[in-house]
Symmetry: C2
Subunit: 443 residues, 2 copies
Amino acid sequence: MANTINTKTMPGFMELLPNEQRLFNWMKNTIQKGFETFGFTPINTPIMERAEVILAKAGGDTEKQIYTVSKLATKTTEDIALRFDLTVPLARYVADHFYELTFPFRRYAIGKVYRGERSQAGRFKEFYQADIDVVGNKELSFRYDAELPSVIYTIFKKLNIGNFTIRINNRKVLNGYFESLGLSEQATSVLRSLDKLEKIGEDGVRKELEALKLPEDVIAKIFEFTQIKGNASEVIRCLKALDIANDTFARGVDELSQVMGFVREFGIPEDYYTIDLKIARGLDYYTSTVYETTLDAYPEIGSICSGGRYDNLASYFIDKELPGVGISIGLTRMFDQLLARNIIRPEAATPTNVLVIPLEDQFLSKAMDLANTLRAENVPTEVSFEQGSLRDKLEYANKLGIPYVAFIGANEVEKNVFTLKDFISGTQEELSTEQLISKLRRS
Amino acid sequence: MANTINTKTMPGFMELLPNEQRLFNWMKNTIQKGFETFGFTPINTPIMERAEVILAKAGGDTEKQIYTVSKLATKTTEDIALRFDLTVPLARYVADHFYELTFPFRRYAIGKVYRGERSQAGRFKEFYQADIDVVGNKELSFRYDAELPSVIYTIFKKLNIGNFTIRINNRKVLNGYFESLGLSEQATSVLRSLDKLEKIGEDGVRKELEALKLPEDVIAKIFEFTQIKGNASEVIRCLKALDIANDTFARGVDELSQVMGFVREFGIPEDYYTIDLKIARGLDYYTSTVYETTLDAYPEIGSICSGGRYDNLASYFIDKELPGVGISIGLTRMFDQLLARNIIRPEAATPTNVLVIPLEDQFLSKAMDLANTLRAENVPTEVSFEQGSLRDKLEYANKLGIPYVAFIGANEVEKNVFTLKDFISGTQEELSTEQLISKLRRS
């Protein structure tokens, strides 16, 4: 019977070895802790939702990727679907619990989402998103649009993944500009094409715009516009100097200018953010600020953290005006890409800091005592229970990357010490319990 | 369009408000940290598995509860199912990564699993399990069977949910006893009935045993046997005194006696564990030690943490002999039951420890500076960005349970201080940044 069942990880699913998993969890915890120090509160919605909830906002490509769920026994569909992002569940949650929540509602969510994409390298069918959103009741200050980049700046610095740039734009600036070119009807299509700039390149976008029957000079103007460069105040000055008579454009420039002013006030170093007029975001529901974040040394990875502001989070679910702004880290894909490029490196395959080895069975109880004492001091500790040779036990510690081994035998009991072997320095010393605690707690 | 979509949480799914979610996460983190201080390492397998993997071990009731997954667009089943526990994925993981793992493999997993049960109070279709297992290659010391209760003891003490009893038994003791009564063929059915003792009571079990055509005196003996009471050594003595000539029974008593000896050596207080000969566990794969854990004051909740030893974890997936022992906390159900009984109580709806309020817009930058300084010291901090009145801002803090508010206005800037309001004591004082840090870091 064995071996006839395929036990390989399915394509499109990430499964990690323990040392990689520990690194992944460290990143996830760092992100979570970062969210919490900014006062975001956790919610954890089911992975399954009523199909009508999931389908309310899904359209086009997203709808094709949705998974539905059935009971095996009855083969009956349950009208249940798996979530494809964390924003739809947030909208449903806010609608359902509207009267129990305090606004502005600052929530974070870190969880798995599902998209039945065609299998290809770097694309996942199951992946983690780590989202923060601030949802207002009727109104929401643009200061929050500047706060999110400061959360991302703080967290990505802690993740230690090299320099990065948070690229900020405003949908109204783009839409207003397109309108001023006489492209009111095609504005959404132009936005969607522009969003593919990184994937399909300038030539690809140009072809799509030509297919939309845009005149050559208009296409040229669009490319020229999106390439406006400089620091935030320079770009804002440029935009104003264009002197475009379009209300949407004017409002967009005003919003963008406000947001960039707050970003500076909030103390994010200038190297880490920029206005990038190429940023469009594919999703329909953004109405103002939009963000993408790229690693300076690895632009080919694309955006690892994106989001934006929406006028109305939950219009499909509740008759309330709920403006919000949010940003999402694509954790699984980011981890996969960083690992593949050795930007992050897995270390030990276990949290254990010390392996306690009783040299004879009679010392087992003393070994457990020491382990319990160390654990009470938050030192991850394992006791060796196997019957094998000392050599086997040291090899076990070595393979897992456990940095210390503590022996207890007749000699140690007599002297009331433990012998501590340090695998990194190669040294060995006899230490009292107190000395052992202070040494291992520090390391 | 709004309001036509049902946004209520589906029956059988747990969805929490922020204050409850924070309490749930605290429990989950306490469990996770407990697992790690014992040197268990995390793995995180996909929620979806090939249907053949999920079905390899499922049978009977479990199979009826399995969810399968399809693509909405194509309506085609993908031969993918959702996991119903964390043990089958562990078996598949160990088989797939056998040559990359170090044994004994100590892994923990905390994740959601899915069972399409009929909806009823206290039963969940989506729920968290928190599992630890130690998997050996060919052999595994019975010391691990005693280590697991010491992990559970340590964690449940930290969860502060009152007194509890870890009930330990051995399948071989039960099976051997049933064999000695001439019930070799019915042994499994008798075990399964016995496992329902808490659910259906002694009368219910008696009826099931009668349905198996067991003679009345045999049924009486079974009940008498399972009611043997006393501390571990007394029960072991009783079992030996029964003088039963059955090899399985003798091996079971020997294993149980060894395990209980180690449990005592490992320092678990006697009040927290017992031999309970009624513990059977429904699942087929346990072959030796079995555990259940109940709260002393709330026996009606049933077992909140169960498990046992199996001879061979992954025989369906790989031709290797992999004995193991594991235990699983039913986190969602446990949380639900504890919350319903006020054994645990939610507190603040946010991690924020202090809300910084700039009294005028010109102080926004100073407010963000303070917030960034506090966050660097791991003090969860929020800045008030809304335009509302001071009263509104204090009400916001109060509603969320934020304990401190720090004001910054002209007076504070002049004196180079912040005014800190303590909601609990009701006091208000002017503090320098350093004083503020030391006060908030402590609290």
